[in-house]
Amino acid sequence: MKKIVMICLGILMGLSAFAAPTVEEILRKVESNGELKTDGTAKIVMTNQKADQGAKVTEAMYYRKDSDDSFLIIMLAPEADKGNGYLRVDDNMWMYRKNTRTFQHINRDESIGGSNAKSSDFEKRKLFELYKADVDKNGKEVVTEEMLGKIPCYKFNVIAKVNDVDYPKKTMYVEKENFITRRTLDYSLSGTLMQTSSFMQYTQIEGKWLAVKMLFVDEFEKGNKTLVEISNISTKKLDEKIFTKAYLENLSK
């Protein structure tokens, strides 16, 4: 009898090892896999395509200090924006305008440069702190396994735990092997699909995964999409003086 019980327990334990992880476990792993605990420098190129207009290419250099999550962005293109920049230190974020040589403090919920990005988007907040599993009518989490092209992924739905997130509902596709996000479907509060985000290419840096090619497709206004490419990545320690207004002003000259 004891033997039978032991065998059954063993089978159960074996089965549980193969059971899908919970949504929170997946989110924590995704977060952990992407959490780079070093300073960082990268070049970002965004190609924005609108339905009735041509493509607009924006280039910027991004500097990040790990110790306090400060960052500095300096615009490299287009010519009209070249030399403008953004600096965040602690709770303060400023926008620098080269033409007027002035700094303007940005509120947390103000849009940046007329885009959909806000100051609060750059705050370091963990996925599992922002989202939780969206359960079915039986109160159960549903995590399924699906192929995204040739990549096996976990697919699940999450809803926001807090009010101040852009998309209150998401469907996430997370690669099974590496726990990196491959796709998200972002929904509005009323459940309309607003955006599909595809994380097409990753690179590994110091054991962590960093998305270097992402495509954001506007599902509400068809024909709009943005391609984001990250290159020239460096994790060299950065000088403190980089994260100052004086440096930003000097850099933009």
Partner: protein, 590 residues
């Protein structure tokens, strides 16, 4: 005196051609003066009662939660409305409504446009004392081309919408077509909705062509407001010039907040305690002051007073058997719905207090405190501890909201908005403004237009007065012998002077009357002209016509001013004529 006036009148009729020409130039001057002041009154009227009242209201209660520029929410709507009703007599109010609008992107039939979605309080105003004529004027400023106003209230459609003709053409939509919109709600979450066109309108004002209207209560819901929550409120007054600032000041005084005080149950394991929970101001200066009043007996100081700091009095911690690093639950009753809220807190520090500090209570950094306070407003705190704002400790505690100081003008207000991010308010800010502060730049602009028009007319008058002086001098010269004669038969110097002044007075009076009549005729004719494509200027027009607003007192003041100025102008030559020696005057030949 009667004789002087009769003589003046007789003299006026003697040199008819000259006096008619001079009188005509005065009449034209008066006509332009009356038209200019009527036009500037009209522009100011449009500004205050159409543009500014729609855009800012005459008195505005503006609210922002936790320093969020776009998070315009106050969690107790009834409280503010009651304070408005207590402060402003009902018969002084024209309308009071919530100001609800959001930038949106609208998509239909493969077309996409940017727009502003505005909540229209159609038949659901907080206060509506508009006369039938005022209501008609409002409705007529949005001329219905297709559909009807009342369809915005339809319950069978989720979101009935009224759209300007220009927008409808851009989206290629007709009556009963659907338009999808996306926008960010008050929390910054993306929201989308399908709106159904129930009416197409033609607006008087080109700025209104960017606006799409849905029922205010529906838009509030889409934006994430609950029924008891409030967007900024605009109050429009009957007499804004007289009462605008006064009522804003009085309302401001009535909106002073109390200390935010929660009374509930702390629970750790099997141990519970009924206790007050308060927030402390987390800025550097306040924390420094608090440290003088409470002494940390356990816990790290940096962590205890940090953003997520949770402090407990020593007596309470001992009673509950908890130490720093432990977690406990705190449960309290909500003001609405009869529900309870439970928050799980991690203890950062334990303290003892001095002075009037009670033995047992919990203290949170305001950022932590407000993180649940506003979304779950507590019922009125019971409990033994009622902190007082004016005492040393009370002054360091978080209040129900933060009432900002009254702004002096638009620049002051703009600076206040710029400082929002820098000040990092953690609570809800409440700001009371009258139109004079919200739009002092616009008010100044109207005053400048007024000033420029008047300067133009004054310059013209100066030219006319030069002609007047010259004419009177010529008249005196021509009548020198006559003056000599009447002085010789006994007329006093003052009578001679007064006779000339009377002549000038009568000419100016008749000319002013004629000028006023001409002004009314021209204003009537000009106001008949329709300006169809006026562009920016259309904001100053009423139903595409120039809006003149003559006032009785304005006209009387203008006429009086002209008379006084002409009399002053005529005084010197008249006095010179009066001073002439009769013998010399009689010897005079032209």
């Amino acid at each position: 005196m009667g004789l002087i006036f009769r003589l003046g009148l007789r003299n006026l009729l003697r040199q008819k051609r000259r006096n008619i020409m001079l009188g005509s130039s005065i009449a034209i001057g008066v006509m332009l003066l009356v038209m200019a002041s009527s036009l500037s009154n009209g522009i100011i009227d449009v500004f205050f009662n159409k543009i500014l009242s729609y855009a800012f209201g005459h008195v505005l209660v503006d609210v922002h939660e936790k320093g969020g520029a776009n998070v315009q929410i106050f969690r107790d709507r009834e409280y503010i409305i009651n304070k408005i009703k207590e402060t402003i007599p009902n018969d002084e109010i024209v309308t009071a409504n919530e100001s609800i609008g959001i930038n949106a992107r609208a998509v239909a039939n493969g077309n996409a446009v940017s727009s502003v979605l505005v909540g229209m309080p159609y038949k659901e105003s907080i206060i509506d004392n508009q006369t039938a004529e005022q209501q008609k004027e409002v409705m007529e400023s949005f001329k219905i081309l297709q559909g009807k106003w009342d369809d915005i209230l339809r319950k069978d459609l989720p979101n009935p919408m009224i759209i300007p003709e220009e927008k409808a053409n851009e989206l290629d939509v007709k009556l009963h077509d659907n338009v999808n919109v996306r926008f960010q709600n008050i929390y910054g979450q993306w929201q989308s909705a399908t709106l159904t066109v129930v009416a197409i309108i033609k607006t008087e004002n080109s700025f209104m062509n960017a606006v799409m209207f849905i029922q205010a209560s529906r838009l509030k819901e889409l934006l994430g407001y609950k029924p008891y929550e409030m967007a900024p409120i605009q109050v429009n007054l009957k007499n804004v010039k007289l009462n605008g600032k006064k009522y804003a000041d009085e309302l401001h005084k009535k909106l002073h907040p109390e200390i935010a005080n929660i009374f509930g149950i702390a629970k750790s394991g099997s141990k519970t305690a009924d206790v007050n929970l308060l927030g402390f101001k987390g800025d550097e200066k306040s924390v420094k002051e608090i440290k003088k009043i409470i002494t940390l007996t356990e816990g790290d100081a940096k962590e205890s007073f940090a953003k997520s700091g949770v402090l407990m009095s020593k007596a309470l911690a001992e009673e509950m058997g908890i130490k720093t690093g432990d977690t406990f639950d705190y449960t309290y009753k909500n003001k609405r719905g009869g529900n309870e809220t439970t928050v799980n807190l991690k203890l950062s520090g334990i303290f003892t207090g001095t002075g009037s500090i009670p033995e047992k209570f919990i203290l949170l950094n305001e950022e932590k405190f407000y993180s649940f306070y506003y979304e779950n407003v507590p019922e009125t705190a019971k409990g033994s501890y009622k902190p007082v704002k004016t005492d040393k400790f009370g002054a360091l505690l978080a209040t129900e909201w933060i009432l900002l100081d009254r702004s002096k003008n638009s620049n002051d207000l703009m600076q206040k908005m710029k400082d929002f991010g820098k000040k990092k308010w953690k609570g809800t800010t409440v700001d009371v403004n009258s139109v004079y502060e919200s739009a002092s730049a616009a008010v100044m602009f109207a005053d400048i237009i007024n000033f420029i028009l008047l300067i133009g007319v004054i310059v013209l008058f100066i030219i006319i007065l030069v002609g007047l002086i010259n004419t009177i001098r010529m008249t005196v010269r021509e009548r020198t012998r006559e003056i000599g004669t009447i002085r010789a038969v006994g007329m006093k110097k003052s009578d001679v002077r007064n006779m000339f002044l009377a002549e000038t007075f009568l000419m100016t009076l008749f000319a002013s009357a004629a000028g006023t009549v001409m002004a009314f005729i021209f204003m009537f004719l000009i106001s008949l002209i329709t300006f169809s494509n006026a562009g920016f200027i259309s904001i100053f027009l009423v139903k595409k016509h120039i809006h003149f607003m003559p006032t009785v007192d304005g006209i009387l003041i203008n006429v009086l001013a002209v008379i006084i100025v002409t009399l002053l102008t005529a005084f010197i030559p008249a006095r010179r004529a009066a001073k002439m020696q009769p013998s010399e005057a009689l010897r005079h030949y032209e």
